[in-house]
């Protein structure tokens, strides 16, 4: 039942945002921003409950995201594929996206990235563990694709910035 509560609430949110903003791009940005705000808080909950240690590289990070985080929060385990040769990009393939149960995109919202909140969450959470990443949907079952695919790209490590005057 909680899964439906979240899914239904998310749907109500997207619907409300579509009313508040005139175009899909703005809704997408807003979802990303809200996701980011959630991600920076969610990471603490995740670290407290999952007991995972520090990841040594992006491959470990990918495993933790797919096998621990997605499983814990959404009850699904996406598969990890399409690693770039440099090991700085990979894809998460979601056979089922729980967010889109009962959802159909109306014709006039073809640019809407319905689940964009997830990208923001990933970005925000990883930033809190010193990783700047980009997350974006490259396939979406809502748009007729066979699967939903999120492409994750490692940008850089975030060094801790000491306030001016401290050594």
């Amino acid at each position: 039942m909680s899964s439906e509560l979240f899914t239904l609430t998310y749907g109500a949110l997207v619907t409300q945002l579509c009313k508040d903003y005139e175009n899909d791009e703005d809704v997408n940005k807003q979802l990303d921003k809200m996701g980011y705000n959630i991600g920076v808080r969610l990471i603490e909950d995740f670290l407290a409950r999952s007991n995972v240690g520090r990841c040594h590289d992006f491959r470990e990070t990918a495993d933790v995201i797919a096998k621990v985080a997605f499983k814990m929060y959404l009850g699904i385990t996406p598969s990890i594929t399409n690693w770039s040769p440099a090991g700085d990009e990979f894809s998460l393939i979601l056979e089922n996206n729980p967010l889109v149960d009962f959802v159909e995109l109306p014709d006039n919202h073809s640019s809407l990235i319905y689940s964009n909140l997830l990208c923001g969450v990933l970005r925000g959470a990883l930033e809190m563990v010193q990783m700047a990443v980009e997350a974006k949907f490259v396939q979406d079952t809502l748009k007729g694709d066979g699967v939903t695919e999120i492409r994750m790209r490692f940008i850089r490590r975030i060094e801790d910035n000491l306030p001016a005057g401290e050594e």
Partner: protein, 174 residues
Amino acid sequence: MADPALFEFLHTEMVAELWAQDPDPGPGGQKTSLLVLEGMGFRVGQALGERLPRETLTFREELDILKFLCKDLWVAVFHKQMDSLRTNHQVQAPLRLPGTLLCPQGTYVLQDNSFPLLVRMASGLQYLEEAPKFLAFTCGLLRGTLSTLGVKSLVTASVAALPACKFQVVIQKL
């Protein structure tokens, strides 16, 4: 199965987002944000009402419906039961003269001593002013579920000290 924490995180962000958007921070603007949150809760409550298993339940009286909210709905949504349910029936005025206020029939007070959406915030009197924002969605949720069950209502909430709160449900007679 989505983890319950996800709903809490999403709800908190929705409250923050709707409040930030408001160009008019005065009482008028606040009211709009509360209405929007309540409206969203209403839609979710309607949908939940349709999905809750109630084929085996027969609601013989209004009180049964309220008990259903306090037990089944609250457990499904917040993983706990409502802590108390009180009724406050008043007698309807026998004559309906123009300008006479009708006494509300079917008024119920649902009390949750540890409302999950308030628990993370604080306890006691700190953030008392902020609390209504965190209750609007749930008021709508209750009103929406009641609506699916064929009952028209008005739901408001009040907080005396976090994290305890009361939901007042007034059944509207058609």
